[in-house]
Symmetry: C2
Subunit: 189 residues, 2 copies
């Protein structure tokens, strides 16, 4: 019974730390920042930080999960899932640190023992399903060519979104959302 209180407190504290860490990475960027720096900026000691996260990799993975959750809430689907993805890509211009963190962790997640491994696999599966549904809906509505393969288009849209972030990170004049929109126009007409 009484344990409930402390357990809830722990969860709340963890969420506070996660929100603060997400804020730090959004503003200041990720350049191989050490756990000591993160702890300092978040306002806890290093062991205090590691009390809530098993390792640095676990913390970074949790930050990306938190980002997805926040983005999902902040950009509700006024249109369909593809419109939502474009809105998030436009928002990404304001958080270069999260873009770099995402690409870096996606590469590291190849290792099956990496904490982000299953996160990325499930994330790609979910987004692929949602985008394939968009293609089918738009085909039914007559706003997309009928001979498009929804699964293939979905996979390619994800690849473009990820790849264009790499190019944008190196050249901030790249129009990430615009390039994706133009690709959709080219394949759907």
């Amino acid at each position: 019974m009484a344990d409930r209180g402390s357990y809830a407190k722990g969860v709340v504290r963890r969420e506070e730390i996660l929100t603060a860490a997400l804020d730090v990475f959004s503003r200041e960027g990720y350049r191989g920042t050490s756990l000591r720096d993160i702890a300092k900026q978040v306002g806890v000691s290093l062991p205090g930080l590691m009390h809530y996260f098993d390792s640095k990799e676990h913390l970074l993975t949790a930050i990306l999960q938190k980002r997805d959750q926040v983005d999902g809430d902040a950009h509700p689907a006024d249109g369909d899932f593809l419109d939502g993805l474009l809105a998030i890509m436009r928002h990404n211009r304001d958080v270069p640190g999260l873009v770099q963190l995402y690409i870096t962790l996606a590469a590291a997640a190849e290792d099956p023992s990496h904490p982000a491994h299953s996160f990325f696999i499930e994330r790609f599966a979910f987004v692929r399903l949602a985008l394939a549904a968009v293609v089918r809906d738009r085909q039914a509505a007559g706003t997309a060519r009928a001979d498009l393969d929804p699964e293939h288009v979905a996979r390619v849209l994800i690849a473009v979104a990820d790849g264009i972030q790499i190019q944008w990170a190196l050249d901030r004049t790249v129009d990430m959302a615009g390039d994706i929109e133009r690709l959709w126009d080219a394949i759907s007409r």
Copy 2:
């Protein structure tokens, strides 16, 4: 005069080390391998390795440059540049370590002080130019729609190539070259 010999020797030794390192990464993969491990597998001491490369980041960048050079020689353009890119993507299935190294370094290269920063900027500029030329050539030959924007298509093809490697790293059943070919078919017809 006599300096020539020793200078050339140094360059040769550096190339030997680079070739050995490229071979190690191709076979064994890159999972944050330490410089000591690389030195041991290449057959030199740690300071012996650092005599030829200023830092770990410089070494990894040099490995990617060497990879591009080797790939360029191994896959001469029997077709045009896009055909060559597809051949390299098919070859990439055999070198997962290099794929992971490429993505990881591309993300880290966002930092202007990173040794790979200018390498990636110049690499993207070169490939974009070459792919845009392919689009124009195929348009002239009548095998691509005339209303395609060559620069935009080039940028998108690079993004798909990079992004699809991330998905393949997490799921080896992904057909990297096939997905790019199908995208080209969809936008060029």
